[in-house]
């Protein structure tokens, strides 16, 4: 996927592939920012999808 990795936030961060996440990390995004974006996406979708047994 193509996006400006150094600029993306929130939902866009959560949508990154693993390879893009590595590029984002290399561009200065912290692992914490990536994890927070994932948590935010999980909060949105988990009530419907119920993918997690333990978080």
């Amino acid at each position: 996927m193509s996006m400006s990795i150094s600029d993306c936030t929130g939902e866009a961060l959560a949508a990154l592939t693993l390879a893009d996440a590595i590029r984002a990390r290399d561009a200065g995004r912290t692992a914490r920012a990536l994890a927070e974006a994932a948590l935010q996406r999980i909060e949105e979708v988990e009530p419907t999808v119920q993918a997690f047994a333990h978080l």
Partner: protein
């Protein structure tokens, strides 16, 4: 993998989170050690973001997970949560397992890339077993590149990422449109043929094939091995908790207990013959194109769908990968399955990368909507 959080199927032991194997029988079970694959993930710099829902014992009963594309439909199983979490954009990668169809089928139902490497290439130590001859770890991602990255890290095979980022030449593909024991649903066969045409138009050599007559009952060989070994792997828990195990699971385990050892040994011999036969059968090709499932994800949760399109490749332990290819009339993902012979994982990833580009699905995320039903 440094700093990347990965979902881990809840039959894989984790020291930081419970591992409850999809059943209340194991409520509160807290391993003291990580499974080998989790240790590999940690060694590569990644971490366990959460444990993903599995069907009970990674077998028949549906769990709580819904299909992110249509919540009234199954996500497939048994690695239900791993497939759904990646499809919904909750995580970019997850780990699952396959004994019959538990990586490739849920990946297809959820519109993500599901990669089951060759049998034995990912260390199964610390994973709740069902069938030691068949159990295999696999990965869920949204791209082939990520499959090479994650599975390559777990297997300590950096060339898998190299292969996944270096698409092959236009591949020579055998096109197997169906498996005789799992007829395709209306519309799904046409969609698969359309994908084959798409690949041919992009330059692949696509050769239609049928399953050789001598192997039209291969699913029975798989079933004998799976249920014989599963019955023995779960014997103690079934004896202690029979009333808390579903009727279909008890029936299948009882069927496994009733299998004579001689029949089991004969099935193991047939498996060896199948491995030799299909290694030669695949030799003229870079891969086999086949359906990953008989159609889109079925509505409801009475079952996780027919795993039969994955059975042969699970029996022989060949690497297999599901790629998303489109949506059916109900807006549910359809895909293709690619396979190569054992140990040809890197080549399969390179072929898959070429096909991924030709099919043009991209790394889509399901538009999750609340369940209207």
């Amino acid at each position: 993998m440094r700093g990347l959080g990965i979902g881990v199927k809840d039959i894989i032991d984790t020291a930081a989170l419970p591992t409850t194997i999809g059943t209340p029988i194991h409520d509160g079970r807290q391993p003291t050690r990580d499974a080998a694959c989790v240790a590999r993930l940690t060694e590569a710099g990644g971490f366990v973001f959460g444990k993903t829902v599995t069907t009970a014992f990674a077998f028949l009963d549906s769990g709580a997970t819904r299909n992110p594309w249509q919540p009234a439909h199954t996500p497939g199983g048994s690695s239900s949560g791993s497939a759904a979490a990646v499809a919904a954009g909750a995580l970019a990668g997850a780990i699952g397992t396959q004994t019959n169809g538990s990586v490739v089928r849920p990946a297809a139902f959820c519109g993500v890339v599901g990669f089951k490497p060759s049998y034995g290439w990912l260390d199964f130590t610390g994973v709740h077993p069902f069938s030691e001859t068949l159990d295999t770890l696999g990965t869920f991602t949204r791209t082939v590149e990520d499959a090479g990255l994650l599975a390559g890290a777990l297997a300590r095979q950096p060339d898998w990422l190299d292969a996944a980022t270096t698409p092959s030449h236009a591949p020579r593909v055998a096109f197997l449109p169906a498996f005789p024991w799992s007829p395709m649903l209306p519309g799904a066969a046409d969609a698969l043929t359309a994908s084959a045409v798409q690949l041919r138009t992009a330059g692949a050599t696509v050769t239609p094939v049928t399953l050789p007559d001598g192997w039209r009952d291969a699913h029975r060989v798989h079933r004998t091995i799976m249920l014989y070994e599963g019955a023995r792997a779960l014997a103690a828990v079934q004896a202690a908790h029979r009333a808390r195990i579903s009727a279909p699971v008890n029936a299948a385990l009882d069927e496994g207990h009733a299998i004579e050892e001689a029949d089991y040994r004969a099935a193991l011999t047939a498996r060896k013959q199948a491995i030799a036969y299909f290694t030669e059968w695949l030799a003229p090709y870079d891969g086999v194109l086949a359906p990953p499932a008989t159609g889109g994800a079925p509505e409801g949760f009475a079952s996780t769908g027919d795993p039969g399109c994955c059975t042969l490749w699970s029996l022989v332990g060949f690497p297999a990968i599901a790629l998303p290819a489109g949506l059916d009339a109900n807006g549910l993902p359809l895909g293709v399955q690619l396979t190569a012979s054992a140990g040809q994982d890197a080549r399969l990833l390179a072929v898959a990368a070429w096909c991924e580009a030709a099919l043009g699905w991209g790394a889509r995320i399901a538009p999750v909507r609340p369940d209207a039903g």
